[in-house]
């Protein structure tokens, strides 16, 4: 069984059984006004070094907000934002951004050879083990497909430099550390054009 199902079944079980309020996409959309200035309308970023959030897995969004709030992930821009949101907001924002259509890859690919190298690096570095074969992400693991190229570069550099740990199992810091500059460039190009 694919683990994708896990999130679904867990959410379903809890919301049905507990008659707890399900995450509220509309409330998330309203709250997301806090986000759109940087992350763009409908979660598609138009700004360098700011990631698109549209189509990110619900749990990934929630975990990052929780990490920003606890200080486990540090960002001067995000810090004042997360101080304004509670647990319900976090759940609603997760549901909202997950409900949006993911960013479309920039077409055409201006450097297919580089993408080819990126695809090989992704196999060699086992990226799909967590990020899934389509790189759509799942659960707490980020969608990479169609993300802004320069943000992917920034994220990989942050992991490699130990500026960002990647949360619970710390896998990304360990994965990024041995990546060469060539691999990082190729991976970012490949993933941004998926």
């Amino acid at each position: 069984m694919r683990i994708v199902l896990l999130t679904l079944s867990f959410a379903a079980v809890l919301t049905n059984a507990a008659t707890a309020p399900a995450a509220d996409v509309a409330a998330g959309k309203a709250k997301a006004e806090l986000c759109s200035g940087c992350h763009g309308e409908d979660g598609i970023s138009q700004t360098d070094n700011i990631p698109s959030l549209a189509g990110q897995p619900d749990q990934f969004i929630q975990w990052q907000l929780v990490f920003f709030r606890s200080g486990a992930r540090k960002s001067e821009q995000m810090q004042p934002i997360v101080e304004q949101i509670n647990n319900d907001d976090i759940r609603n924002l997760g549901a909202y951004f997950a409900s949006l259509a993911p960013p479309k890859a920039t077409k055409p690919d201006d450097d297919p050879d580089l993408s080819q190298k990126g695809a090989q690096a992704a196999v060699g570095r086992r990226c799909a083990s967590c990020h899934t074969d389509t790189f759509a992400g799942t659960k707490a693991v980020a969608r990479l497909a169609g993300q802004r190229e320069e943000y992917l570069l920034k994220a990989m550099h942050d992991y490699k430099a130990g500026v960002r740990s990647g949360g619970g199992m710390a896998a990304m810091a360990d994965v990024a550390y041995p990546l060469s500059e060539e691999e990082i460039t190729a991976l970012a190009h490949y993933l941004a054009h998926l």
């Binding site: 896990l6 059984a17 759940r91 994965v175």
Partner: protein, 419 residues
């Protein structure tokens, strides 16, 4: 003291990837080699440290991440109705909003301290007129899973630092940076999160996991040390231990018993996780050569026999993930519970149908003989791979009830008994 330990590392660790091997011996890829003898290794363990042995049959199995904001009060109210307990026992929610809750420790004045996993928080829970108030007292630590409280001081272990916060209960709002009392530990996160158990002398038993699933461990890990927080002195008490995140001192004998998570990626049903006891200094518990007391590792046995190593007191089952444990020394539970061991099983990730995520009770003679296991509390698993919660630590309360930490639901439960 840290550098001295690092300089002593000369081991060359090898690890292998069981390539496309399914259950029925397919072809193996060549051994993969890791250089553990250089300084780089100590800050950056193998990048594939927990997926390195992934097989095609098991692709997609990965540690699941729980709900980031834990379970709401309404969800918890529904959850505890599903928990099955022996007759006469009752479970209730003691505190919610304790996100990623791990090891618990009591302060002398009744504060319950709770560590956490990746969030980096340490919490203090106090009673405010019957209502439990959860306060985050430390933030931004590196996986502060283990806690202890001695002589007014809170001790937190955060991967490679054992930190002491003096007079903690009087300073919950201003604990400061504390004082590092022991740091002779590798800095990597891979199996680097720890647990603290104090003995009667005030020394802590501290486990050191290897930075991968299976391989020849670098020299300073796969062991349990006993550390004096007053002086920073340490002794090596056990070798050949994989990932242990729980243990307790036997009130009958003073000996240290501990849980141990066995290797992954062999199969859904082997090898078994273990309950061990250290009966003499320096015992070797088998890792990586032998699992569950009787199963030589398919690659790493390297001509070792299981008979060379200390067998477990009890095999607890594959992928049940036993973590925090306590000898029951209270008077509230029925008399047969006295000195039996309650173990919080965190549950599987490397198994197609999850098991564990429950509390088991083990009775055993003081020498470890005649060990028997019975299920005590269950019901946290839904379907094949769904969790409602994942118990990870147990502590006794003054009245003889027990508290259980759950890092998935972000909650502490109380389980009590009345006739």
């Amino acid at each position: 003291m840290k550098s001295a330990f690092n300089r002593s590392i000369l081991a060359l660790a090898t690890i292998l990837i069981v390539g496309a091997a399914g259950q029925a011996g397919a072809q193996d890829k060549p051994l993969k080699k890791y250089e553990s003898g250089n300084k780089d290794f100590w800050t950056h363990p193998p990048d594939d440290w927990f997926l390195g042995d992934e097989t095609q049959a098991q692709k997609g199995l990965a540690p699941p991440a729980g709900p980031p904001t834990g379970a709401s009060d309404a969800e918890l109210a529904a959850l505890i109705k599903k928990i099955k307990l022996p007759a006469g026992f009752k479970i209730e929610v003691y505190a919610s909003g304790v996100l990623a809750a791990r090891q618990m420790a009591w302060g002398d004045k009744g504060t319950l301290f709770v560590g956490s996993f990746g969030l980096g928080n340490v919490y203090a829970i106090s009673d405010n007129g019957g209502k439990k108030e959860v306060k985050t007292i430390l933030k931004g630590l590196n996986m502060p899973t283990g806690l202890a409280f001695r002589d007014g001081a809170l001790y937190v272990i955060a991967v490679n630092r054992l930190i002491k916060y003096d007079d903690a209960e009087a300073n919950l709002d201003k604990l400061g940076g504390g004082k590092v009392v022991y740091d002779d530990m590798p800095s990597y996160a891979a199996h680097g999160w720890k647990y603290l158990a104090a003995d009667k002398d005030g020394w802590f038993y501290i486990p050191f996991g290897p930075p991968f699933n299976i391989g020849i461990p670098p020299t300073s890990v796969s062991q349990i040390r006993r550390v004096d927080p007053k002086t920073g002195n340490a002794e090596l008490v056990a070798l050949g231990v994989r990932n242990s995140v729980g243990g307790d001192v036997d009130p009958r004998t003073g000996k240290y018993w501990f849980t141990e998570n066995a290797r992954d990626w062999m199969s859904d049903d082997t090898p078994s996780d273990k309950l061990n006891m250290i009966s003499k200094l320096g015992e070797h518990f088998g890792y990586p050569y032998c699992h569950q007391g009787d199963m030589p590792d398919p690659k790493f046995a390297m001509d070792h026999k299981c008979s060379e190593f200390t067998p477990p007191v009890l095999n607890l089952g594959a992928h049940v993930a036993p973590l925090g444990m306590k000898f029951y020394t209270g008077d509230q539970f029925p008399p047969e519970y006295k000195n039996s061991i309650l173990i919080a099983e965190h549950g599987s990730w490397n198994r197609h149908k999850y098991q564990g995520a429950r509390i088991v009770r083990v009775t055993a003679d003081p020498d470890g003989k005649n060990a028997k296991e019975t299920e005590f509390a269950s019901g946290w698993i839904e379907g094949d791979q769904g969790y409602l919660g994942r118990p990870d630590d147990i502590i006794l309360d003054k009245d003889g009830s027990i508290l259980v930490a759950d890092d998935w639901a972000g909650a502490i439960y109380r389980i009590s008994y009345s006739k």
